[in-house]
Point group: D2
Chain length 279, copies 4
């Protein structure tokens, strides 16, 4: 533009500028690559990586990303997101709408645990970058946690599973990828050290959960904490779709949370007359 006044169209087109995709008639480029050069040559997880990070991953990096994405696809209909997908599927809306209502609730509580875990690991990694040893950095972060924050140590413990079967398997795979030099193994070390230190302090084991384990992988692969939630959405969308689809084969209409002959308990004001009405 070199100092020239922009035309209205240029101003409008700049308002929607992006570095992700370039298009002209007959041409689609993702991050600079022709789409037809990518199709069939990079895996779906590699495409996800390219879109989010701007560069192609190695095949090993893409494989590890795919492992984390595949691990968290579903946790059953007692998860609000899955129940919502199933109920929505009986209300006369499209499958995309059912998915949207469900994905929408993957918020701080339902979808944010991985983000919190990776931030926690990141604080420890930063302390180590500043010269602290692993044990010292973990201990100091946990001191701060127990002093001032409340609730659960991010990434540890599960209300239902004594040991979440996904977590040890994900850590085992992370260590295998680290052994081959794909990742450093640093976040696996940090998570393991947190787990051990908490066990020592509490006198009982509170093992790593799925959010803690996927956060390890996302951290090893260099994803920033807030993207962890986005990746979880991509992952859980699979279960959400599967349940919406399964439900849509049933004849239920307006499926409620309880069997249809049940009601809910009413706990409010007793029956009363409208003010001024005689009884």
């Amino acid at each position: 533009m070199s100092g020239e006044k922009k035309s209205g169209r240029e101003r409008g087109e700049e308002w929607w500028r992006t570095g992700i995709i370039e298009m002209r008639p007959g041409v689609i480029r993702m991050r600079g690559y022709e789409i037809q050069d990518l199709i069939g040559r990079v895996s779906f997880p590699a495409m996800i990586w390219l879109m989010l990070r701007g560069e192609l991953p190695t095949e090993d990096q893409a494989a590890l990303l795919g492992i984390a994405l595949g691990a968290a696809v579903d946790h059953g209909p007692q998860a609000p997101s899955i129940a919502i997908a199933r109920m929505a599927a009986t209300c006369g809306v499209g499958i995309n709408n059912a998915m949207a209502s469900a994905i929408n609730v993957l918020g701080d509580v339902h979808g944010g645990a991985g983000e919190q875990a990776l931030s926690f690991y990141g604080d420890i990694a930063a302390a180590m970058d500043g010269g602290a040893g692993l044990a010292e950095a973990v201990s100091s972060r946990l001191d701060r946690f127990f002093a001032g924050e409340k609730g659960y140590v991010p990434g540890l413990g599960h209300r239902f599973h004594p040991v979440d079967p996904r977590a040890p398997r994900l850590i085992e795979l992370t260590r295998a990828f680290a052994a081959r030099g794909v990742v450093s193994g640093r976040f696996a070390d940090i998570a393991g050290a947190i787990e051990a230190e908490v066990a020592t302090r509490k006198g009982k084991s509170i093992p790593l959960n799925i959010d803690g384990a996927t956060a390890v992988i996302y951290g090893e692969l260099g994803f920033p904490p807030p993207l962890t939630r986005g990746l979880f959405v991509l992952s859980r969308s699979v279960g959400i779709l599967a349940h919406a689809w399964e439900q849509s084969a049933e004849s239920d209409r307006n499926k409620g949370p309880l069997p249809k002959e049940w009601l809910w308990a009413y706990t409010g004001a007793p029956a009363r007359s409208f003010p001024g009405d005689s009884e």
Copy 2:
């Protein structure tokens, strides 16, 4: 413009043209009226009417619209929309998000009955405009319904209430407004004639439900059928907000559809080994 080429900015601004609202710095006009002239002088239902229809209603018209909007605000947590609002409120999302996930499921099955009822009434009204008598027009439309369509006659019957207590009250009020000349009473007549004819054909009464009754009012007031669903969304949003708000005062986190110590019944493939693994 008179033949002149439009500038880019003009083209962009026209892309988003609307006849609803006009704005300049310090000026907001709705349908031509200064916003400060409307505030405090028209009721909330009258503002809804103005926004949707382009002209101000009479006070009586606005009052009747408000009656229909107030009647359908809630039907309890066994309605999927209400259950979704409550579950969403425990997932760490904003109250607007909880409301959106819930409103989103007011689709053809959960939110479309009023639209279907008003279309049905409209077919009969059109036949009457073409010269048919009420009984003839109703009978002929029902013949067509029973011959080719399936399910329930739109606006009649309720799976839970033998008589929906809202419906007779709404019809009574519509007739009172008709007696005062606010509306014609034509849609109340049509709904009543449908109800009577179905009772005769079926040999039992299948009374008007809330959707049939609000459709009568929306039809009397001149709203087209598809707006009926939009009005229902405005109405049910109130219950959705009330339930999300009540739930947010509780300590539940990730509230599922069943008590948390319950699971779901599994009906799928039995436990099996990964292909090729020995057992």
Copy 3:
């Protein structure tokens, strides 16, 4: 229950307990009142109040609530929520879906200003309850704001309107209701004192905006800050519906943000070959 073990059904029904609505076949009670006693006797804003607060408002209270709800229904298609509603309406989804996508974005930035303003006023009111005078309480809260918080003083200023025409009208009405004893006028005083003190400190007037003004009304009426966002959703839903409806009468399909012959500016990596491919 008196110590007896609950049946499964009782446990399930309690899981969904609520104090808002009671239902039995043929019976619907809201907050203890028969629905048919409410219909036609309370206005739509009064029904909103009853649902959210548990008790019926006076007619004057309901009227003032309706005034605030009616004031914020729309701010035009440059608001993301309105643009989203219009684009969604061209994508082949229901009007409830278009409304949901739009309402969903009324978050901290787009829909949270009223909540922030009312919290700010509430801090000042609490200081006054503790014995501080109005000027002192305002000054001390603003000291804290300018020392530690950043951005705009909640409820003041508008990026587009030098004076938002809705705000002075809403304050004028609030004062009229206060003069009649409907409300105390305390929050109007607080907002006015903030406005004056900020003008003194900044050397220029930064007038109250719509969020600050509706927060005054909601505060006068006793609504807690988080409900302010919910009430804003109810209000803006009207404009969202009106725009979705207007758009749905047009022939656009998949309406994008810019005129369809425009693209977006691409700012990313230049065109490049897939790794290993010769150019």
Copy 4:
């Protein structure tokens, strides 16, 4: 249960029955497989297949599914879904909420073309199963289309791309997989025959688009038409996430569709006085 009356808990648990996932403390099984047996041994597309179909795909089938999923991840910010994701990301909501508002609009018009294309192919396949030849089955289906349906032949043509660069590449890959016996190639034949016949009838080429090409792959792999939309949601979610993420790094707040100094064109009623007010 064998005739015994079910307990309330059993009834509640059956209400949420599913064949997708089985869970007990420490145990998670997907479609009968232990989750830890799946993690690291099946690709992400294979996990998607297992969840949706109930059985594991071959590696080749999963690879072809991944190709289709990777091809449709993004089509830039002029697509309403992408624009919505970017605007939502500036409104103070979570990344899951921004994704939900966007995914929600992938309806019949924005997200349904693949479903329509696959249904169209399926009609032709069914005619061939009934004994018709390819050319005859295609011709007869197109006769019906041009006689009674309107708009575009499903899967053909693009408003922007003379030739969509993704489509020929996807068909080339489908044929390569067919040559290796992974799929039959039947849907590629059908799509090719439709393309050729339409070109003959119209006297000009209207080439296959991305929806037509992915529908070929989903059909080859045995997915039913309605799942096509669900798969598209999984695919486009990647672009939606990438754009929401990119936008969230910018400082925009409440980003509207047009540059912020622009307005929209107002086309409605001229400025007018409130009824009864003197001018």
